[in-house]
Symmetry: D2
Subunit: 371 residues, 4 copies
């Protein structure tokens, strides 16, 4: 475990720097016989590309994936699936200016403090391009999850404090998500946010936001007490995405203000399921609400799994900022180049990917819960 591998039996290792030769991943532990094509990968990668919505950089990235191994005649072999994406649009010259300066809010200085050395071009390994490997692996995880009837969906919940309606609200429109470039599940909210985004771009500033995620079809019994609780793993997975600063499940931080009689979820008899995961001697249940966010005691309840994650504003802004150079001398920096205004729209598929990776691994592990 050297930091770039994730999972126990459905394992993903990512590699690559922003301006190196390529980024990519190896998926080890995907069961044999799963139909998987390069098109499955390409579709997910397309979702993390810069859109036209204005919240994203206009840098053109082809992001054409190549499957190097692990798939034969359209099906997974049970062997490692290696996927690479070449880095093409490398204008390293753009970054020479910041070679000597540490950008505030970026990992430049901590990286140097750790390794004594870094690839300064475009953030190197701490670039958002690293998530290409995650999204490619997540695409395979999603295909696997589909065979279990599990569906993962994330969206932009809020940018700069402007909130979309909550799931369950009539204004919440599931199908709208992929229609607008901000991935906000409500056209009106999207339009309001876009005004704010345009303003920030003009000011050379950036914006923070919140991503929500909802998983349906997840059987009960997934997650492993005590350290590999489902929420613990998801928290680790989502917080490993750059710029993420917090996560909450179900009622989350609001639960801290509630009384037990308000927060507890009454249990009622449920409809008989034929889920592989349910032992025969255990009755099915239904829950009144879902303040728990679909996880109690670290184990899925069968109710929709729901969490929200906070993302800080992108640190690349063109306003002048105080910093120091490699010699420790105080300097002023103005970050140039094409940058996203808010990370959320493009981070949506990354949140989905990380969620899918956790669930794929935990579902496979759950096969050994009982003799």
């Amino acid at each position: 475990m050297a930091g770039n591998t994730f999972g126990t039996i459905f394992c993903v290792s990512t590699f690559g720097e922003s301006h190196g030769e390529a980024v990519g991943c190896i998926i080890d532990g995907c069961p044999a016989g799963l139909p998987l094509s390069v098109e499955d990968i390409r579709l997910e990668l397309a979702r993390r590309k810069p859109g036209g919505g204005g919240a994203s950089t206009t840098r053109q990235e082809a992001d054409e994936p190549e499957i190097l191994s692990g798939v034969f005649e359209g099906k997974t072999l049970g062997t490692p699936i290696a996927i690479i994406v070449r880095n093409r649009n490398q204008r390293s010259g753009d970054y020479e200016a910041v070679k000597e300066l540490y950008r505030p809010g970026h990992a430049d200085w901590p990286w140097d403090a750790k390794y004594g050395f870094r690839d300064y071009r475009g953030g190197g390994r701490s670039s958002a391009r690293e998530t290409i490997g995650r999204v490619a692996a997540g695409a395979a995880a999603k295909v696997l999850l589909k065979t279990f009837g599990v569906h993962v969906r994330a969206w932009t919940q809020a940018i700069a404090g402007i909130e979309a309606p909550l799931w369950g609200n009539p204004s919440f429109n599931d199908e709208e998500i992929e229609r607008n470039p901000l991935r906000v599940p409500c056209k009106e909210t999207a339009e309001k946010i876009m005004v704010k985004v345009d303003e920030a771009r003009k000011n050379g500033d950036s914006l923070g936001g919140i991503i929500s995620c909802r998983v349906t079809g997840l059987p009960p019994g997934i997650g492993m007490p005590v350290f590999a609780k489902l929420d613990a793993l998801l928290a680790g997975a989502v917080l490993s995405i750059g710029a993420c600063k917090g996560i909450e499940f179900g009622a989350g931080f609001d639960a801290a203000n509630l009384e037990g009689s308000q927060n507890n979820d009454a249990i009622f008899p449920g409809k008989k399921s034929s889920c592989w995961q349910m032992p025969e001697n255990v009755p099915d249940v239904s829950f009144q609400k879902n303040d728990a966010g679909g996880i109690i005691g670290g184990i899925s309840t069968g109710a929709p799994l729901e969490f929200r994650a906070a993302f800080k504003p992108i640190p690349s802004i063109s306003k002048p900022q105080n910093t120091i150079d490699k010699n420790g001398i105080a300097r002023i920096i103005e970050v140039q180049g094409r940058h996203d205004v808010c990370v959320c729209p493009r981070a949506v598929p990354v949140v989905e990917a990380m969620t899918a990776l956790v669930l794929a691994d935990m579902i496979l592990l759950a096969r050994s819960d009982r003799i």
Copy 2:
């Protein structure tokens, strides 16, 4: 990895059910030569015992730890340190009533859905008694961290929405924390909260709250991109504590509402440190504020590491609740017995323990960052 082991080279495995023979842990990977005594463990375990403050159960737990291995002549051997605490005050009879019923908000039903079988006495493995193993291991991790000059401190930030002053505020009193049974760093706030706690207890209800944690002395360069980012590991560690529903680092969810120019932290020249972790060719820095909570790009910055975690109200309440029994029949349950009103005061040492475990592991791993 079957869920009960935590860490990469400083590894902790916990075991034990609430009403089984014992709970405890094995610490594997603690370096040799560290002075460690049973008293170090006992002191930390005493902190998670029920206090007199009214927020905790009156169940008497001796919690006397025994070190079975790994320590010789007062020093660690580099071999596994096994620590056990016998379960003494086992009134299993108390729990016969709920043997047939699933308690709302508890892991009873998900546990059955997963394993088809559970130790229903006192919650079994999902009991808070499981944290004894964590706190015992955390005690050793704290001793190790002290040799690196690292200090971990947590406290109750809020209960039922009544907030203590923030760190840095003149009313914040570090020394007050261990003086009042709620572990609130402000006497006046503690008294206000106590009124609320007494009221909830009388009503047979419970309360949620927030725990804050602050780590000082942590060198820069700790944490491993990309999946083992320091915040990702801490999020996973803290969310693995029962009842925890969310975590945020630094500005956290507030950062989602900020602009980059507000959230970014200006960098200034810092005082020369002689820290083992700093490469010679990298300049020291200081930060204007610390919205990042001491972590950027998943790597510690040397500024204090700060996070907040949300805890839901304890699900054991004596008010009547809807549920079902093992046969799927709808029933009403009134949970009897002695229960805490709010988990926060006793969870403070558990949050510290999990934080210490992550940091001990990551600091040891950082020894191999550079040749």
Copy 3:
């Protein structure tokens, strides 16, 4: 991974020094619902106790196991199973003499070179008592394997060059193994070896030997290419037993002298099995012989799994030997105390335990080979 944990999803951690408080293990990842009793553990531990056969020490060890967790109402809970055995017969005084001297052939000096510090009493953690934790865990693994129809049997193949007949030979007597204290599957050979053992004991010397192991009922398809090949894992498992110096599978070192046409195993149509592990579209096979030892390409073939392991003579001998003391001064040492003459008879259950641990883990993992 700090060296004292073994396995991926059926994980075992052992702990304990020879003269500390206790030795034992935690088994994490045993599926729920497996019938397991302390008697299952006790029976296996009894097999590694000193026998009356003269090859073993006369040190009396009660070795009474206690299950601290993970079992409820006679069945496994799916939670960690902690097992401890108190160290009772600790005559530490016996070892004061060697406190200052490094015993040749023992781990005393390498241990000091590594940790700068050791528990010198009875070898500390490098004592054969450490294998109690392995055998206890192996007992649980054997119970699990039995549910899959898998049976693990080891025996003493040779001591001091005197060989028992090979499996398949009419003189090979499976039932004789546990009848004679040397665990040799042939009464006549056992008697010949005993003469040699008595002679060595009188001379204050010790003897090396070979243990064979044979697993029947193992389905095909177990083992994970490429690094977790079944033979690779077994080699690592068996070589982790103190005093083991080599291992070979099937024809082993003899295969190095053969031609492909001699070593290859012809394939013939097999009887239709209904094994869970066999995919429907794959034909069953039978093999002409079994030079491969039941493993090809790191995957079990369904034929009996067979290997042999070499054990060096026990280094504790009472003849005078050259060594140095803690100050580096040349000295003569004569190791006193009660010691086994040959490790093999007592190592037989340890070899079985390690084999069972590997197979339990790999069989559970094989559940995720295909979608």
Copy 4:
């Protein structure tokens, strides 16, 4: 852990099928600042290419490595180092004939029994081409080991029972190893073996052999009791190489025939070393001989580490053999194509690579042995 990743903090994952797009590896956990070039990789890969010596296939493999990430300006970044080698000389047509037949001695059938599906072209993932990833990663590990003064050297000890002189013998010629295509450290022995190799090729047969490995410069204190003993890890590493059927350390299987007084190694005062790994308070030693092979109690002693590994004859022979087809029908197979006669010469760099991977990992881990 899904079988294709090796190591704890210096971790290597390999991927690729023989006739897929590419084979390769990711090295995760290589410390930053290590000088590493594509030439370092290329040189090691060249050593595993078919030579002109007649023991190897004449298949032309360019095996041109490409470093995709983790190296910047000639030095490692501390990030994952991805290396790929394209598969060029893919004459898949050659293998269509065996698509329907299971080759005796090959992993074809066990692979089908496990996954229900395989890439039949050239053995797919079970091809020796998989070792390209290992050798590439081993090249980096060797560069790292060199900074610690550790040198790994393997050679062909025997083929078809014709043995080279043992190390220490005057006829043993270290420099001869890379001069003759068989990698035998003695010209005369190499010539004798070549006669045997030519004969086998003419007969359409193949030969087994033995590889020896010797590591010098390894400091004492490397290896982690109890399951990660240095010999246990090396055994697992070397047995994971296809065709390897056994391993022995130091006196190995011969030790089973010895008495303790013969096998024990007397200890004498040693020359003061300034090795980072030696604690100040522990005296240096020297050993009389080295029957232990440089490892006692799973920890390196500072003496040369020595082991031997047995390799079976290559199963691809052109003589007719009994087998079955995919429908379970009995058939005769005659394997066509270009195949090595003996795996040993080309397996030498693979044995070195696996040894280097284990040592790199264990040396980094040993940095945390003591506080």
